[in-house]
């Protein structure tokens, strides 16, 4: 195995291949920064370029894209409160408040460091998991998926400062998640006969609306620029350096984020967005002082960014071992593999060891290289937040709406983005958290489908689910997560009485 790692590394170091890697990284960063575009669009665009290439070259190029895209996306999340790609959504919650405090440099530094380190850890975990990849995939059945989604939803209680309003937001998210055709029940729900709603609302235009457009409406009402402090002093390398230091100070958060990202990444169909939300809420729940979360806690940036880069390593397992793409991005990557004569399946991992290691190392190198590029350009990027609202608002709204359209070339997505922009602004105005809505929206469909599948599988007898190991483990975690605040309160009371 180590032979393969070495030959793969020397292959990547070759001039031409290095060039492909860099091309992938640069395209990845740019497509990550622009909301609505993203890894899938970038791969689709580069796909025809690979026709004449060797399989390994094509894979190097795509590895560069996949490693870089969420790093690019974190910048938009931090600076403009709109996720550049869907997995960056959780980064907005604390990244943007930091920007408003004039600490954008620090947030970017921390995000990039967390991403790079997370990406490296994810790649290492992938290398370690390869021999047992098949067992992992076979471990998660519908009962486990259901519990996983439920675990994510229990995190809502931690993510909302006002529980009732948080739950109202979550209900709204679940409701929106149910819109569309349900292929188990064979019925359309809440579509009102509108063709566009048949497939349900796709997550990207909803996020663009809720965050980017809502933020611009907010800014329009307030006026001025995004960052409130006097610019010149806090912009610059010192800020980013502070961020890097912060990331290493909270190395535990990076580790837990990467672990969550890798594991969730292996679950097909769940993907980076869920991974980063779970990582975020895990960090919130396990932290002692959680008052600052949502107001600009650097750990809230580190956790999701570590996990959304680590997830690529995990997500490759179902793609390579079973040909099950976990996301649109992976589906296109699967197309690249097939085009170059690599047939995903249990045998691929053994037959094409060298190619797989080229891919893993390309992914690894891409996260580090794109991290460096972003850190070097951060001081210029940050200036965006000091632009006056009269210039910034129209530009961001135009880019957001174009991004929403570019996703599926659908005008319906543009209306959806606009609708959710207004909704997002109203939620902000009346103090309802947007986080819980998004988490519920992401997890709702997953939870529902697997609930019905489990019911069918066990012929309605849920007691059989207790024979499923991951189901029991996850159920235990849920009980623990719900009891934790009560226990913490009880302990506090006891120590309080003593004092």
């Amino acid at each position: 195995m180590f032979d393969s790692v070495f030959t793969a590394a020397s292959y990547l170091a070759d001039g031409m291949n290095l060039l492909f890697l860099m091309l992938g990284v640069v395209v990845g960063i740019i497509f990550g920064i622009i909301p609505g575009l993203g890894g899938a669009t970038a791969i689709a665009l580069l796909l025809p370029l690979t026709f004449g290439m060797q399989a390994e070259q094509a894979i190097t190029l795509m590895g560069g894209v996949m490693g870089a895209v969420t790093i690019g996306g974190s910048i938009t999340a931090i600076l403009l409160n709109t996720p550049g790609t869907a997995p960056n959504a959780a980064t907005c919650f604390d990244g943007y408040p930091l920007t408003r405090q004039g600490k954008a440099g620090m947030a970017i530094g921390a995000a990039v460091t967390a991403s790079s380190v997370g990406g490296v850890i994810g790649a290492l975990i992938l290398i370690m998991l390869l021999p047992v990849a098949k067992n992992i995939i076979l471990f998660f059945g519908p009962p486990a998926y259901f519990m996983l989604a439920l675990l994510g939803l229990t995190a809502l209680t931690a993510a909302s400062s006002n529980l009732l309003r948080g739950l109202i937001g979550a209900c709204l998210g679940l409701f929106i998640g149910f819109v569309g055709y349900d292929d188990l029940g064979g019925v359309t729900r809440y579509t009102g006969g509108v063709d566009y709603l048949w497939d349900g609302l796709s997550i990207v235009p909803v996020l663009i609306g809720l965050f980017a457009i809502a933020e611009m409406l907010k800014l329009y009402v307030v006026g001025g620029s995004i960052a409130k402090s006097d610019g010149a002093t806090s912009v610059g390398v010192s800020g980013t350096f502070e961020g890097i230091k912060a990331a290493f100070r909270h190395f535990k958060v990076i580790l837990s984020g990467s672990a969550i990202g890798s594991v969730i990444g292996t679950v097909p169909g769940v993907g980076g967005t869920v991974a980063s939300f779970l990582s975020y809420s895990f960090t919130v729940q396990t932290s002692k002082n959680k008052d600052e979360f949502g107001k600009g806690d650097i750990r809230g940036v580190i956790a999701p960014e570590a996990s959304n880069n680590a997830k690529d390593g995990g997500a490759l397992i179902p793609t390579l071992a079973f040909g099950i793409p976990g996301s649109a991005e992976m589906a296109l990557f699967l197309g690249v593999l097939v085009l170059h004569g690599m047939d995903p399946g249990p045998m691929l991992l053994l037959e094409r060891e060298f190619t797989i290691f080229v891919l893993i190392l390309a992914l690894l190198a891409a996260t580090v290289v794109s991290g460096i590029i972003v850190l070097l350009t951060a001081r210029y990027l940050i200036k965006v937040t000091y632009i006056d609202s009269s210039i910034l608002i129209p530009s961001v709204i135009v880019v957001s709406l174009v991004g929403a359209y570019a996703l599926h070339n659908s005008i319906g997505d543009v209306f959806a983005a606009a609708f959710f922009g207004v909704l997002g602004y109203l939620m902000h105005r009346f103090d309802y958290p947007r986080i819980t809505l998004v988490i519920a929206l992401v997890l709702g469909g997953l939870m529902e489908r697997n609930y019905f599948q489990t019911s069918l599988m066990y012929r309605g007898d849920w007691s059989k689910a207790f024979g499923d190991t991951p189901f029991v483990i996850l159920l235990g975690l849920i009980v623990l997560a719900l009891l934790m605040p009560l226990i913490a309160k009880a302990i506090k009371r006891k120590t309080g009485q003593k004092a």
């Binding site: 055709y181 019925v187 599988m457």
Partner: protein, 321 residues
Amino acid sequence: MKLTTKILSVLCLAVGLSFNAHAFPDEDVSIVIPYSPGGGFDRAVRAFAPQFGEHLGADVTVLPRNVPGAGGRRGTTMVYRADPDGYTLGIINLPGFALPRILGEPAEYDLREMSWIGRIEAQTYVLLVSGSSDINSVKDLQALDEITFTSTGYGSTVLAATQIVARGLGLQEKDPIYLAGYSGTSDSLVALVRGDGNVSMAPISSAAKYVESGDLRALAVTGDSSPFEGVPTFAEAGYPELTPLDLQRALAGPPDMDPEILKALREAFNKTVKDPKFLEAAQKARMDVVPLDGEATAKSLKESFEFYEKFKADLKNPNAL
């Protein structure tokens, strides 16, 4: 006055030109793919388009265009309603896109009216059980008390094929469970390996690698011959009525196309499916090229409709609330 003359002369020129327009085709032709990039239909069109363009004419480019949505209905409706000028074509899932009409659901298109250019691919199905089970034949399967099929959701071609096989083999009487809702065929096959259910149907190309690795065991295949050694066709196993089950990918245009245009398209199609360059690309994309010309495709579609009509009562949603 002078300006008006100018405008008039330009208009005359334009009208004159359009009357003397070159024979079809003189601009780019687009093929609508009613799914997102990355799937089997997308791959088929992308392998087919370059050579199809070459055979249509020197300056013609054929552009694949993804219009996903509503399980393929959005893209197909778009082709159905397009001008029948030959510049908008679509790749059609057979019998998948015929199902809504057979099931009596609203569909804004009728495949029987479309102008068929030809079939590119046809795939037969295989009946599968887990490699670790002790079910070795269709008879063993019929002896089981509890049957759970893993499958994709209602409205998918695979679920319809599963329901027809369940009826044909007499499994329907055992009140089987259709564990539907998996996001794709590979997903439902992995679920079968995992043991979520105990039997599944899948197109052979999706299932072959699992059968080769021993994770899954093939019990019988549709079609006239079996690609797996020692595995019978349904006809050989005693169920010849299941032989016609298959999954096809065919090219079609809007209804009422000009016969001249349709002829040009069909000719280019027939040349393309024999073009070595296309066949090489098709092999790379792991396609099952089984070409059929336009008229035969239209006829095969009618037979397909009749076949599915026969099983109409079995095709209702097994998990309807």
